[in-house]
Subunit: 145 residues, 2 copies
């Protein structure tokens, strides 16, 4: 299941939706909105925007790439858009595989590919304005001012 | 949180319990009971046993090893004992980190260490007996008969 949503992601339902008797391993990656300590007091929330027609298609492409490369029983990727408060999930990846090696590798691959090819951008909303901070996970450029 | 339980594991609650504004990445590994296709029709469920006093302590040790090696904001490991039906979680590991690399590495490390040092064993319960199948994730020896 590959989906872009504008509501909170139900992570528990996504993970348990991957359980299958022929798979012994389910690897999940959740990207949560992170606020650097230095900026913490200033950031109110983050906002994600996508170029939707291409973003949907690129998530499906990543799923197909994973199924070509690894023995997986299930792959889900859900990305959230709009306002996301600090510490909340913006992207969830769930991969089930018979064995744990492929599950770990494929979930890592998925998040790297999302950053590479999916047209989603985020900005930090401050009390007095906003700062574009690039792609959705784990990076943040220092505001210029 | 490091715990051995005899009831189903609430994976969603464990994952969302790891969300923090200073962490951008939450990596979760769920080991589910897997039944090989060839044996599928015969296996009714799996049963996990532990040497409790040492198992509890070893899970805590793994948590401490992770906190020494990686920059993590949260680590949980919960292992289930007793009857577990095919496709249900037997072990759940959740690691939150500011960045995704350490989260992936630490969660993988945790499951490898569990297999190495935690005294937990499993057996498949068949309609006509049982087969010890070693440690809890991803391996299964072929029954002798």
């Amino acid at each position: 299941m590959f989906r872009i949503v504008e509501v909170p992601i139900d992570v528990g339902a996504l993970v348990s939706g991957a359980f299958r008797p022929d798979c012994g391993a389910v690897a999940t990656f959740v990207g949560t909105t992170r606020v650097d300590e230095g900026a913490g007091a200033e950031v109110e929330y983050l906002e994600y925007e996508a170029y939707r027609p291409m973003a949907d298609r690129k998530l499906e492409q990543i799923g197909a790439e994973i199924e070509e490369r690894w023995d997986v029983g299930h792959v889900s990727i859900v990305h959230r858009l709009g306002r996301v408060d600090p510490g909340e999930p913006s992207v969830v990846i769930v991969v089930a595989s018979p064995r744990r090696g492929p599950a770990f590798e494929a979930s890592r691959y998925a998040i790297e590919r999302i950053k590479e090819i999916v047209p989603i951008w985020k900005r930090e909303i401050w009390s007095d304005g906003y700062v574009w901070v690039g792609s959705q996970v784990g990076t943040r450029s220092t505001p210029a001012g």
